[in-house]
Structures are given as C-alpha cells and as structure tokens.
Symmetry: C4
Subunit: 121 residues, 4 copies
C-alpha cells in the first residue's frame, strides 16, 4: 500500500523542561510516523532554530507495515534537542509515510496534550 508523502514539516516545536509525572508522563514531543507500505522507510529529520543553522540529519528507519512514534527528547545524534526552546522540523523519507505531531505537557498538576497532522510539502 502506498500511503502518504515523502516530505513533511512540523513548524511547532517546544519540549518543556519539567514534568510532574513518571514516564510516560514526562513532558515530550513526538513525531508519529506510519509506514503502511511494503518497503522500509529511511527517514531523515532536520531541526530548525530561531538563531542558528539547522542541525541534522537525524536518521531513523520505519520498517515496512510498522509505526514509529519518535520522541524528540530522545534524539541524540548529531545533537540532543534543547528543552525550553523553540524549534521546527523537516522530515523526509525515501518512501511515502504519514506524520502526525503530538506534545504532552506535564509541567503542572494535570497534563495537557495537543496534536496535528504535519504539513505535507
């Protein structure tokens, strides 16, 4: 099944530094990627910032017929994502995928969540 696009953008990015709960209630942002096709997806992420050059690519594989919910706070190579700072991301894949963005914010006593399908460019 061919489903989705090969280039996606998430203009919003902000990982709160604090959190009141245990994992998985720590504040985090996620790029939920679905590869409904029959070939593995080789995905590259590039992060953009307000005041410096982009950082990347970060590389992950979403296997055929699998979903990967990638947490931005777990990206390490080539550099971790700073907390409490704005960023944006561009995601490219060699085969079509679908990307949805979520944030869990647990800085206060009750968590807050938000989501949107990313921009397919």
């Amino acid at each position: 099944m061919t489903l989705g696009r090969t280039r996606w953008a998430i203009a919003e990015g902000w990982i709160p530094s604090g959190g009141t709960g245990p994992e998985p209630l720590q504040s985090h942002e996620t790029a939920c990627m679905l590869n409904a096709g029959d070939a593995d997806a080789h995905v590259e992420l590039t992060l953009y910032f307000p005041d410096r050059e982009p950082v990347g690519p970060y590389r992950v594989v979403v296997p055929a017929r699998r979903t990967l919910h990638l947490r931005f706070d777990r990206l390490e190579d080539p550099a971790p994502v700073p907390r409490d700072a704005p960023y944006a991301s561009v995601i490219t894949s060699d085969v079509p995928i679908v990307v949805q963005h979520t944030r869990l914010d647990s800085r206060q006593a009750a968590n807050a969540i938000m989501t949107t399908v990313a921009w397919a460019g």
Copy 2:
C-alpha cells in the same frame, strides 16, 4: 452529497490505561467518521504497531447521512487494542467519508483533549 475521501490514516495512537473519571471521562481515542452521502459506508480499519504485523480488518458501517464516533478501546474483532502502547491506523471506505481523530486523556485530576483531521491519502 459526496464529501470526503475513501482512505484515511491516523499516525498517532495511544490509549492511556488509567482514568480518574466515570464514563464518558475514561481515557479513550476516537475515530469520528461522517458519511454525508446517500449510500451506507462500509468501513475497514487496519491497525499498525511498532514491532509486529498489522491487525485487521475491523469492520463497521456508517449509514448514509449519519456520523459514527468509533472508540478504539471498544474494538474487539479480530483483537482488542492494547493500552499504553503506540499504534497507528488506516481507514478505508467504499464511499467517501470524513475522518477526525480525538483523544481524551483522564489519567490525572483534570482531563486533556486533542484532535486533528486525519490524513486523507
């Protein structure tokens, strides 16, 4: 009226296991489907996971000129949806429909909600 598309994807999926409130405040995720047309929609859902083959199809009917808000935690056949685990879904229909995704998270003292129109592929 012909409105929508015949294939949709929701890359995000996560049903929290706990909840502080009575129904309808239990944590859940929903695929809100609108069939504004004059023919019944025969809908199939397939669920995708990080580490195993897809499960499905789940089958539902959205009658002509009706909406169905399908809760993922009530899917039973061919298998229930695991809680506290990432998944994604692909929804196909034999006539055009519109699909919107929501989550209610009531793990903490106050509930949290999120929504997005699904990806039309």
Copy 3:
C-alpha cells in the same frame, strides 16, 4: 481577497453538559469562520447524528472582511444541539471561507482545549 473553500466538514462534535467555570469557561464547541473576501458569506450548517436524519440548515452571515466564532451551543433554529451526544457538521458558503473547529472542555477542575482546521471538501 479570495481565500478558502465553500464546503467544510467537522466530523467530531460533542458538547459536554457540565462545566466548572463562568462564561466564557463553560464547555462549548465553536466553528471559527474567516471571510477574508469583499462579499458577505451566506453560510449554512447541517448537523449529522448517529441515529436520525440530519438537522438543518442553520443560517448565519459572515460579513465581508470579518470573522465569526460560532458557538454550537447557541444554535437554536431549527433546533438546539443536544449535549453529551455525538454529532458532526457540514458547513457550506456561497463565497470562500476558512473554518477551524475548537472545543473547550471544563468538566473538571482545569479546562482542556483542542482545535483543528476543518476538512475542506
């Protein structure tokens, strides 16, 4: 300026019956409509339900170069919108508009919010 589309759908609809706060913190859903053009928009809404025929049209005007944030709980003619019940809506206009959907849920001690651009059909 011509901006938007003439037909929109919101597959999600649910107005919680309770609320902990005063206005504007009562639970509600809103169709935010933007008419950036130079002609008034004559808008019709039709509501869809799980188990009965659609209700409508509800009629509103969004004047030229204006926005109207229409609360579903204030619709009266031809019938009020039931609370604690699923619905969906189709919005048509004689000139292009942009529609975004929001819900404020204040059933618990802290409010929750969600939004998405509607489906342009």
Copy 4:
C-alpha cells in the same frame, strides 16, 4: 529547499486575559513559522475581527533556514491584539513557509494546549 506556501489563514484566535503561571506559562497564542528555504521570508500578518475592519499589516522577517514562533500578544505595530476577544489572521510571505498555530491557556490551575497546521490558501 522550497517548502510550504505563501498564504496561510488561522480562523481561530483568542488570547485569554488571565494566567496562573510565570512566563512562559502566561496564556498566549503563537504562529509558528518555518522558513526552510535559502532566502529570507518577508511576512505580513493581517488580523480580522467580528465587528470592525481588519488591522495590519504586521511585518516580521523569518530568516533563511530559521523558525520564528511569533506570539500574538507581543504584536504592537500597528496595534496590540485585544485579549478576551475573537480574531482571525491571514499570513502572507514572499517565499514559501509553513505555519502552525498553537494556544496555551493557563487561566486555571493546570494549563491546556492546542495546535493545528494553519490553512494553506
């Protein structure tokens, strides 16, 4: 890299007047803009209201390969954005950008968040 569109609309707009937290937990709305291209983006925002003529343009620059998360409550010229009042916005750019809209609502003890990719017109 050419990514995005040159005209965007956000039909929802509402900046709550109160807030329980310190910055950055004050209630606010943000237009997250990503310019993944190699030329600076000259961006103009125009705000729409229910009962008066649009206000603008507000002008900002999103440099090449940068993101700007623009808070509406910090707009000053030609006029500040009223709080506790509905508005909408149209965003134009001389080069393609991607726009995502968010609101943080901290009027109650726990914050609430929502987001959606804007409408690309």
